[in-house]
């Protein structure tokens, strides 16, 4: 069988319930992970799309991309795959979750290189339970009908479908490649692991801090100068939570350094002005 042309689909229609904020917008080293997922997939496929819920078609985080909206609600990731296959039935789909911060291009390239077009799907085997990983996998055009029957039987789990179907399972080249990040705590751990190495010795530096809105009220001041050993905004915020009674959780905030958006892990220098920005509400 000749290989169907490969399109890419990044899934960004989840409800991010455990994270309590939009996962697509979470950033690592200053880049939203939806943008990172598209940068990974775009060079490897003929066209790349973002899978969204219909109510996300005007969402600023998503409007810049080619979008495919779910056809049915409450189907989870299968809704995105179903809508993509309905839109382009004769294409194969490389389906990718948007929240895989450790995924590297080599893992995707190997999946594509070893793809078996005569089976219904090609996927990696989970490091944890040996089950197929459905959200970094290739679905061939022939999988459309069996997937639709699966959904019509009220099934919601793409992993179970892959396990039962004629799927080629591969071993992951890099064990952590498909670790995903679902909670605020996992996000901070991943963000620290992926940020620049801050193992340099702590030297006290003079920083200027600016506070806005609810954080200004909690700190009881709009600005202050502080001598601190904090090396990154993440360390600084932890210190201010303790010493100034800031109560907003860091996963809801953005960082600004010297009047420009910054990153939780960027090294701070003497004289920097740092602000932590609560969720905005202009307009």
């Amino acid at each position: 069988m000749s290989a169907a042309e490969l399109y890419g689909l990044v899934l960004a229609g989840g409800r991010s319930k455990r994270m309590q904020r939009d996962k697509a917008a979470l950033s690592y080293a200053g880049k939203p992970q939806l943008a990172r997922a598209l940068e990974l997939i775009t060079p490897l496929v003929s066209r790349a799309f973002v899978s969204v819920r219909p109510d996300q078609l005007h969402d600023p985080q998503r409007t810049g991309y080619a979008l495919i909206a779910d056809l049915r609600p409450d189907l989870g990731p299968l809704a995105g795959i179903e809508a993509a296959q309905a839109a382009y039935p004769d294409r194969a789909w490389l389906v990718l979750a948007c929240d895989l911060p450790f995924l590297q291009p080599a893992t995707l390239r190997q999946l594509i290189a070893r793809r078996d077009v005569n089976r219904l799907a090609t996927a990696y085997r989970s490091q944890f339970d040996g089950q197929p990983e459905p959200l970094c996998a290739i679905y061939e055009p022939a999988s459309r009908e069996p997937l639709r029957r699966w959904i019509d039987q009220d099934q919601r789990c793409p992993r179970a479908w892959l396990a039962a179907a004629d799927t080629l399972l591969l071993d992951l080249p890099e064990p952590r490649a498909l670790d995903n990040v679902n909670t605020a705590e996992e996000y901070l751990a991943a963000s620290a692991a992926l940020g620049p190495d801050t193992a340099a010795p702590a030297v006290p530096r003079q920083l200027n801090i600016r506070y806005f809105a609810l954080l200004r009220e909690q700190a009881g001041r709009g600005a202050e100068a502080l001598r601190t050993e904090a090396r990154t905004p993440q360390e600084l915020y932890a210190q201010l939570q303790r010493e100034r009674g800031l109560k907003l959780a860091p996963q809801f905030l953005r960082v600004a350094v010297n009047d420009e958006f910054g990153d939780w892990q960027q090294p701070l220098r003497d004289g920097d002005t740092v602000a932590f920005l609560p969720p905005v509400a202009g307009g």
Partner: protein, 159 residues
Amino acid sequence: MNRFSLHHTALEPQQLIAALRRPDCGGYVTFEGTVRNHNEGRAVRRLEYEAFAPLAVREGERILADACARFGLERAHCAHRVGALDIGAIAVWVGVGAVHRGEAFEACRYIIDHVKHSVPIWKKEYYEDGDSGWVNCEHCAEAPEPQRPAVAHRGQGLI
């Protein structure tokens, strides 16, 4: 010329649209966002806006430049209030001028959606019952958690 501006006094739509007009534009779309007397089921008495001015202007002008490139606009301006506002006051004004109407409508929507999403401006609502709250912030507190062991990466404690 594209401009994002912050204002401590009332916005004047007539003046704002006049400054936008050019002979080579055939369609203008403007949007006014005004202070509403209710939000999420609560009666609102007045609002206060606060901005991180240098970054708000910078981010606002990035959005306007994006919109101009994306929709081929000739002109775009967004003006936003800061300070105390009463019910009915104009909080934000967006105006775009384009050769034709289609891109003008789309661009205006694009600009207001992105301004609300990423420009560092905050809104405090004062309610009829005497309470007040920062919109989008009041559910962002750190959940009270029992003492747990620190997660360690590269020898560092995390928050």
